[in-house]
Subunit: 357 residues, 2 copies
Amino acid sequence: VSCEPVTWADGTLRIIDQTRLPRELIYVELPTAASVWDAIKTLQVRGAPAIGVCAAFGVLVGLRETAPATAGDRVRAVHQVADYLGTSRPTAVNLFWALDRMRRVADAADTGDTAEALGAALEREACAILAEDIELGHRIGAAGAALIREGAGVLTHCNAGALATGGAGTALAVIYHAHVAGRRFQVYADETRPLLQGARLTAWELHRAGIPVTLICDNMAAQVMREGRIDLVIVGADRVARNGDAANKIGTYGLAVLARAHGIPFYIAIPSSTLDPALNDGTGIPIEQRAEEEITAPFGYPIAPEGIGVYNPAFDVTPASLITGIITEHGIMDPPFTDSLCQLGTAGTQLSGAVLR
Amino acid sequence: VSCEPVTWADGTLRIIDQTRLPRELIYVELPTAASVWDAIKTLQVRGAPAIGVCAAFGVLVGLRETAPATAGDRVRAVHQVADYLGTSRPTAVNLFWALDRMRRVADAADTGDTAEALGAALEREACAILAEDIELGHRIGAAGAALIREGAGVLTHCNAGALATGGAGTALAVIYHAHVAGRRFQVYADETRPLLQGARLTAWELHRAGIPVTLICDNMAAQVMREGRIDLVIVGADRVARNGDAANKIGTYGLAVLARAHGIPFYIAIPSSTLDPALNDGTGIPIEQRAEEEITAPFGYPIAPEGIGVYNPAFDVTPASLITGIITEHGIMDPPFTDSLCQLGTAGTQLSGAVLR
């Protein structure tokens, strides 16, 4: 299932240029911090967990570029490149979480360490983030797979799949696990305007894995629900507050309202790194506003007159009250989410069974 | 406001090729029944009322092509071309309503009438349909304009404007009238995938008329509502059943659900020709399914992998229970709609004040 959107081999960071999918599957090298920043900003690499992985290796790339002279300079350089990479996109918390892990490794380094020693420690940390992400995909998929019954219809939005993470994804990991378990079902993929991650990435991934997928325009989701084709909705998230409010790709909130109106369960699938324990609720989640041209000139082709207003928020926040359950590497959480998410926020802590299914 | 999407001059039928907007404003001639059929099928001319007007003139064009020898042949030829044009698109009832008016003129012709006499009678009828449509736009606009208050936010979907009718439109006629009355307000236009009538046509029309318009992707409507930017939703319709169930461009039903969830009034604006008195409710409205390529390769640019499933219904049906009011040339109808719509079905009858605001 994995398609390795971010790879690190012999000191070289490479990503799949996701803006060229599904036409071309091309890996590009990111040799500088600026190229990492651009790749995140332009969505060549995207998906909250994959952004975190890419940024972690980006710190290594950036440190190598500057080649600081002293141990103190090296720690400062790690902070500088981490601060810089943190300005690429504001919403996905995994970016800041991964950069913080890299900063902590630098801060913990001995002042007598060589450049090689710090580099090796940072490389171990970035590789650990990637390896953990792969493992998390398995665990999220295993935790949620039973939600998808034989013959079910599953609706997803944007891409929370192998292209969005180091491993099998989050929402799509659940789908892959149900498929591997031998169940047959139908996935409906919202195309996800403006950047069409559903059409370009989710449909590509699922079709490649032999899972039946039907593409719809975003505005068809309500009709597809009304026709009884959808048994559950599963999406990923870019940042989840302690109460369960979940920021995800624009359109997710509307889907959650529609799912509720049609009596359809609505699930979020996330690794614990997507939780932002600093936020009590979703009102504090920064929403990235992106360029008008993403809407008015998709792929450079103008579809709207010049001079009009355009509104292009990249994310919205689904209130916890519309979320049936949150699928994590530790199991499926039922509402209210505050207690279970607070425990999830304690890194590495296995949650008690009491708050989990 | 009018931009004359369908014109008839010196026996020549011309339309704006709306597939080329907003890049180019080009009129094309429709010299044959086949070209009229194609223009409707490919949405060079679209919008339920405009389709009706174009098809009415299309009967004249088709009759001239065949040049039947006898009076009886001419009546049969009118029926044949009307039947043919009626196969172009299934959902908008105005098409069948306009073709029926042309059939009735032929059926009423004297068996001794010349080709010229029948032609003149048919031309009078088609011109009457166009003139009535222009007049209806004024009346619909006047009936609904007070709904748009100073400073309001108005959301619309697809294009129910001057490009969709002979006159100022239906939903957009209301907007134009409020603008002419001096009120300032903000229109949000859903881009309306797959064919982007909102981006290409509604934004173009409104911007041209000096009305502030902000373009959004369809999946942003829920967020825009949640942010408190929308005070009412107004859309057109392609066919309305006697109970008020309304078929309109795909996505309308979802908008109505979202509007209800946010406590926002949801209005349909239609001329009486959009009522289908033969249908008790919306379950009998045929929903056109269109080509996959409209979704997978917009404007010929492939955005999805080959081999996947695609679902492309062109319309959905909004149940009357989600509709706050129906704006017609006779005023604004409140629910329940059955009595008032039945009276509207009696052509030309002025409705009693009792059922209208």
